[in-house]
């Protein structure tokens, strides 16, 4: 009676393997292959735990690529070696009651996917991994696997694997069990009936751990591949017990499940309003506009520690507050660590094209190399502010408007050398009106990260303004 066969099938298996084709009841696996048994153990455990609806089965590339032919659960077919990474994606997306299985072979998990499995294990993903170790690549035609034994002949180790050429078989369970996070690691065998019975309990335990939200469980299953090994089914099983188990001893390597399960912290859930509020803090308050006449192409340049980046960003922020178009483009990356830093700021009444300032009409030079580098590029009739504390020479050009400001001396007097660029910026604002000094004062409190430095920056603006009035205001 065919119904008898049906009843023997776990409900986590499809009745018919319709994805293989209509009416199919046998698997695609070779005679004597261990995948059928391993699948059945997993499916029975799913039944016993009553988790079929909430299980997601991640199948690898390898012989079990078609896991979804058989498992009547949610199915994700993954790329070669990356099932543990994809499973991580599933785990992190769905709520905590989901059960995620990553079912992988030895080439997939211990070869190409070594990085993915190590890091999934190390993060302690609440995930159950079934690792089928048959010491060979089955699907692609019997090539050497990371777990192939020394001396074992495969299509890519035709004279037998040697330690000198290919290294040693990798003991994944031992490796995984050395990590801090995994809660359960065990190696089982399908080599004999006793081993299968034991495997059945271990498989279920590994899933039970996930139901209890305990974390990462890993079960290595020594499994026959008679075709790959060029043996009959019986010999293959003997080869497991006599050879494979000698190199990969069965047994538990880690069981932290006697400890209480970790308490999970529920995720925050924000309303739309709360999410929008989250971004409110960075808003630039709108202020009365100054008297910007023409597009400002500003180059601010100096060395690290003079506040070049933060002051130039403040300038852009003031322009935004005054409802101008503005761009700020920093020099960035390793170059900045070399000690020179510069930023381009463009302020305009119209949409801005290029944000890179090649020919500035304003240069704020905070140190001598900056003046040397950019003096020639300044447009005729442009403005050059020279930090005369650090730059001894005069500007060579006679077609630009120069203001010499001892910005660093003023800043040191105020108590923070880092405010030097703010002093120079205040002079520029007062002289050009491109942004107003009042706007600078308004924007400083929300722009300075260290609140105890707000006052000193405000004083720097005042000092810059005073210097301008005393020396350059007409």
């Amino acid at each position: 009676m065919t119904t008898v066969i049906k009843h023997q099938k776990p409900s986590a298996f499809y009745d018919e393997f319709f994805r293989k084709g209509p009416g199919q009841k046998t698997t695609h696996y070779c005679p004597g292959c261990g995948h059928g048994v391993a699948h059945k153990l997993v499916a029975e455990a799913i039944d016993n735990l009553g988790i079929q609806d909430r299980t997601v089965f991640c199948s690898p590339v390898g012989c079990s690529v078609f896991g979804y032919y058989y498992f009547d659960t949610g199915n994700v077919q993954c790329s070669h070696g990356r099932a543990a990474a994809a499973a991580t994606g599933v785990c992190r997306t769905l709520d905590e009651d989901r059960i995620v299985i990553s079912y992988q072979g030895d080439g997939d998990l211990a070869g190409i996917g070594m990085g993915a499995i190590m890091h999934a294990a190390n993060r302690g993903e609440n995930l159950t991994v079934f690792f089928i170790n048959n010491a060979i690549y089955g699907m692609t035609g019997g090539q050497m696997a990371p777990t192939t034994l020394l001396g074992q002949k495969t299509t890519t180790s035709p004279r037998g694997r040697t330690a000198e050429n290919e290294g040693y078989p990798i003991h994944m369970s031992e490796v995984i069990s050395q990590l801090e996070a995994p809660v359960f690691v065990e190696r089982v065998t399908l080599g004999d009936a006793k081993g299968v019975m034991k495997a059945k309990r271990v498989v279920q335990k590994a899933l039970q751990n996930q139901v209890e939200k305990r974390g990462f469980s890993f079960v290595e299953i020594l499994s026959p591949c008679p075709i790959g090994w060029k043996m009959n089914s019986m010999d293959a099983r003997h080869w497991i017990t006599e050879k494979l188990e000698k190199i990969f001893p069965v047994g538990n390597l880690r069981d932290d499940t006697k400890e209480p399960a970790p308490v999970s912290i529920p995720r925050m859930k924000l309303t739309d309003e709360e999410l929008i509020d989250l971004f409110k803090s960075g808003e630039v308050e709108s202020v009365k506009a100054g008297s910007l006449l023409n597009e400002q192409l500003v180059k601010v340049a100096g060395f690290g520690g003079q506040g070049v980046m933060s002051a130039s960003a403040l300038l852009a922020k003031c322009a935004v507050a005054e409802n101008r178009h503005a761009t700020w483009l920093p020099s960035y990356g390793p170059e900045m660590r070399g000690g020179t830093a510069n930023a381009s700021v463009v302020i305009s009444n119209e949409a801005i094209g290029a944000p890179v300032v090649e020919t500035p009409n304003v240069l704020i030079a905070m140190n001598a190399p900056s003046l040397d580098l950019f003096e020639e590029s300044v447009q005729p009739k442009g403005m050059v502010i020279v930090n005369s504390s650090l730059i001894e020479r005069k500007v060579k050009r006679d077609d630009v408007n120069v203001m010499y400001v001892p910005a660093t001396d003023i800043a040191i007097e105020l108590g923070s050398v880092m405010t030097a660029t703010i002093v120079a910026l205040a002079v520029y604002a007062a002289a050009s009106g491109a942004v107003s000094v009042e706007t600078m004062q308004k924007m400083i409190p929300s722009s300075i990260k260290r609140k105890n430095l707000v006052d000193i920056n405000l004083k720097a603006v005042e000092a810059g303004l005073k210097y301008y009035k005393e020396h350059y205001q007409k």
Binding site: R92, F279, P355
Partner: protein, 347 residues
């Protein structure tokens, strides 16, 4: 009208969260790292997932798993990282999984440097991974568009079940500009094909394998039909001063900003220049470029690569106007003056 002043890379994460993103998996790389920084800060605050992956290969596969589970998921990288993601992107396309990837382009090949180039065009716009597939590719040229394009990318990805790329460059990512944030939060809806670990979705399968050649052929055809449909449905571009123009500049991203300056300056000299800026690189605005080219004395393609977009422009114009490439490589970014000189209109 309240505005923020922020980097393009920071604006991406504002747009993403307001656009309904719930998962971010990524690996740091200059000049895209600020995107990961902002995601690491804001995603958990919003009750969502940020996870730094061990490499780009596994990051894109985390996207694959998360998208299979119905998530609005994203990552961000630059050329070398996007190259590593190529296989995963092909799988995502084959399995028709929606997701969003930001590419802040830098100079290559190899490690190259961290300055702007636009030489990921072929890899991102033409494919990059194996098989017949396409990504939707949006090309922002401002910090505002970094926010806006990311904001709408998740809806596009879900609608077409595709990868949507935001194709930026080092300058668009690193510069600060004013941004107005979207005022409404968009949420992803439940997808009837995704796997939610519940009874209703138990039957669902996410895969890119089709063992029978007939099924594989039909699947390919279905994808190609979808890509064809996009050409009518989402192609987007901006035109500046094209109405009376007799020379046309075509550029995207940072090159379009420089071209915009060049057009203004050329106009001031009495030269009738216009600009067409593709906002979508796939689908490419071929039809409009073909129309415009008919009245042009010359078309200039401005890009920071050896001439990758140039090929799409050539295909669009098909000999109807002379084309000249004005390009820079290696992280060199021209001024508008450099560009005008190269075009042959210098003083």
């Amino acid at each position: 009208m309240t505005k923020h002043l922020m980097k393009g890379n920071d604006a991406v994460i504002r747009g993403a969260l307001l656009g309904g993103a719930t998962e971010f998996f990524g690996y740091p790389i200059t000049p895209a790292s600020e995107i990961a920084h902002a995601a690491a800060f804001y995603f958990p605050l919003a009750g969502h997932t940020f996870l730094q992956a061990e490499c780009e290969v596994n990051a894109i596969n985390m996207l694959y798993g998360a998208s299979a589970a119905g998530s609005r998921v994203m990552t961000a990288s630059a050329g070398p990282g996007v190259a590593l993601m190529a296989e995963g992107l092909s799988y995502l396309a084959g399995a028709e999984l929606p997701n969003v990837v930001i590419d802040v382009q830098r100079a290559g090949p190899g490690l190259g440097n961290i300055w702007p180039e636009q030489s990921d065009y072929n890899m991102v716009v033409k494919g990059g991974g194996n098989g017949n597939y396409k990504n939707i590719v949006l090309a922002p040229n401002s910090v505002q568009e970094m926010c806006d394009f990311t904001y709408k990318a998740f809806d596009l990805a879900d609608k077409y079940r595709m990868t949507v790329f935001i194709m930026a460059d080092a300058y668009i990512g690193q510069m600060m500009e004013p941004v107005e944030l979207p005022k409404q939060v968009i949420h992803g809806k439940r997808k009837d094909w995704a796997i939610y670990a519940d009874k209703e979705s138990r039957k669902n399968l996410v895969t890119s394998i089709f063992m029978s050649v007939e099924e594989m052929a039909a699947h390919n055809q279905k994808l190609c039909d979808k890509y064809e449909r996009l050409k009518n449905e989402i192609v987007d571009f901006e035109e500046v001063d094209t109405e009376d123009a007799d020379i046309l500049l075509i550029a995207y991203g940072i090159s379009a900003r420089i071209s915009l300056s060049a057009v203004k300056e050329l106009r001031a000299k009495g030269i009738k220049a216009g600009l067409l800026r593709p906002k979508t690189l796939f689908p490419f605005p071929s039809k409009r470029i073909a129309e415009l080219s008919e009245k042009m004395k010359k078309v200039f393609v401005v890009e920071l690569s050896e001439g990758q977009m140039l090929e799409d422009v050539k295909l669009a114009i098909y000999g109807k106007a002379p084309i000249e490439l004005c390009n820079w490589m290696g992280g060199m970014v021209p001024s508008s003056k450099d560009l005008i000189n190269k075009m042959g209109y210098g003083d």
